[in-house]
Subunit: 353 residues, 2 copies
DNA sequence: TTGTAGGCGTTATCAG
DNA sequence: CTGATAACGCCTACAA
């Protein structure tokens, strides 16, 4: 690979002049200027990002740390971030943490040595991002947090309006006539899971419905969790007629469990998801879900980061993107709407607690 | 961030000595050695990858170029590559091409300036990878091609056995008694699409079945394509009783089209996919598919690359991973099956799972 | 307007 | 075995 010195020789100018025309850092007169450009063209020269970064004390790389690219929600976020980054000349270094915060720390520490232009992070469980981000910020490197927030996070963030999304979804179930609603939440130490539960509870409270604790099941954000917890919910008496799942993977597990139990969705039980993944429209029945745009989460985060780099020093921003309720076939009114199974109805007193 | 000079000062040794203990490039005696290590620990020092790369003329970054992380098959490949890379101290720079070969060229040219340890590429449509890889190879940088191969590719590659996978899948359909088989292929300039069609044809030929050209439809590897081409196939007379789809996304589109047409799968028409994506088990009916492990494709590619870097200079390797036929509910014998009788024996015990 | 030279943080070479 | 010192390729004062 040619270097600047060779380009200078080819164009018959000095090294500094080449740099000047490449970076527009000084007006170079026409005869030389084009000679340089021609030489660059001819040699297919591209400046070493390494040397440039070393000298400038910052590179065009953006570190992106996510739990797991294999988890269907995250690729969209990554893609959104990459599109914005790429079009501005930045590149992404992708790191998976598997929700392991010690792996996250390794990435956080190492990424610093690339002098990245910034960091976009979807925190792992029990993330220690807050303390580590501090050292980035001291170095003038932006860090934006996406989708969920670690403990005590006060920096820039881009999240969905989980609370409102969950509230609206739950409202919809209530309006259909459901009164025995259950929810299967993601890990409640994650802010997004907690907020969704918050929205669910608010809607329940608004409807003046009592919510006994066994109707709230916490699990991991995956199919297995949804499956296991649904089996528990289905054994409850009275059985819930609707389940609000913390995300689509949980909803998927719920769907499978309901089928296994010999029940029908939505006739016997309604299921509502969150995320509106692509798979939501191909399940059987297709899944009603709270739609949040992962892509937009990604583009917004990247733009925020680039603004910071351009010198935006305003106070921390917390951008919240609204959700949309996407109704499909997994929700319906409860069976025989005002439950006529009187024996079941009597039991309801038992959860008076 | 502390640099080596400061560590040297802290430990009361010279800069060179610090480098020596960090890289094991010379035996440093015990009193100093531990002092250095302690200083490193204390300062949380990590060497600048930029400076190191500049000096060593190579970094610990691996460029990974893929069509689109949003496409459900690719994240697994990326994850496989990342896992192997990470555990060996390498990091991934992720680039999406959108199957646009001019975007691919941009990435190829720019990645070189990071002096990457190697490149893992899933080529775009009409990829010009072959010529560009040449310049990488001259610089001693390995390039391995995954999933599909560009024109005239003669370097390292890791692919699935598309031909055999398609052949086995088609054989299965034939053994169920289907005689009017159609296929919807991906873009035939992509080697994987072409090989799958090859396997399909070989099975048909083996069964001495005529295959008229309108029973072979070519399209893009997505749902829309599968949907549109299925509608065409369903209008043919006689209508095919089984469709072998070039991948699961096409199969998904086919499923939707069949349903729209008021036909039932698998009673009226069988559908076979390829890839065995996660979504295959949640569709209605669940999708029979040729399973290939994207994750394994990724790990294998990364390992191959790292071997090269360790000095393996043997001739180009073409690693081919076997597939597995994963049977679910989207295939069944054809309607009015004329073969309850003789030849339907399970003579092929093959490798079906 | 153009050229020169110093230095970013490392590694590697070569004296001591 | 240890410690200077010269690159690596680039940018940028500063000098011409």
């Amino acid at each position: 690979m040619a270097n600047m010195q060779e380009i200078a020789k080819m164009a018959g100018v000095s090294l500094g002049t080449v740099s000047h025309v490449l970076n527009n850092t000084a007006k170079v007169r026409e005869p030389k200027r084009t000679r340089v450009l021609e030489a660059v063209q001819l040699a297919g020269y591209q400046p070493s990002q390494l040397a440039r970064g070393l000298r400038r004390d910052t590179t065009n790389m953006i570190g992106m740390i996510i739990p797991d690219i294999t988890n269907p929600f995250f690729p969209a976020v990554v893609r959104g971030a990459e599109d914005v980054a790429f079009s501005h000349g930045y590149r992404l270094i992708l790191c998976n943490t598997d929700n392991d915060h010690s792996k996250e720390i390794i990435h956080l520490n190492e990424l610093r040595t690339y002098l990245p232009a910034g960091l976009i992070v979807i925190p792992s469980n029990f993330s220690d991002l807050t303390t580590h981000a501090e050292s980035y910020r001291r170095a003038g490197t932006g860090v934006v947090c996406v989708d969920r927030l670690p403990k005590n996070w006060s920096g820039d963030s881009v999240t969905a309006n989980n609370e409102a999304g969950a509230y609206n979804a739950t409202r919809h179930l209530l309006q259909l006539g459901h009164t025995r609603l259950a929810t299967i939440t993601g890990p409640l130490h994650l802010t997004n899971a907690k907020e969704r539960l918050g929205g669910f509870k608010r809607a329940m409270k608004g409807a003046k419905l009592h919510l006994s604790p066994e109707y709230i099941q916490e699990t991991t954000f995956d199919k297995q969790g949804g499956h296991a917890k649904t089996l528990i919910l289905l054994r409850l008496i009275p059985r819930p007629t609707a389940i609000f799942a913390g995300n689509d993977m949980i909803a998927l597990g719920a769907l499978l469990a309901v089928r296994e139990a010999g029940l029908r969705c939505p006739e016997d039980i309604s299921i509502m998801g969150f995320d509106d993944l692509d798979l939501a429209e191909t399940t059987n029945p297709s899944l009603s879900s709270v739609s949040q745009s992962g892509y937009q989460l990604g583009t917004t985060a990247a733009r925020l980061l680039l603004d910071r780099r351009e010198g935006d020093t305003s106070p921390a921003k917390h951008i919240v993107l609204e959700t949309l309720l996407n109704l499909r076939n997994s929700v319906a009114p409860p069976p025989e709407a005002p439950q006529d199974n009187s024996s079941m109805k009597r039991r309801r007193g038992s959860k008076q607690k």
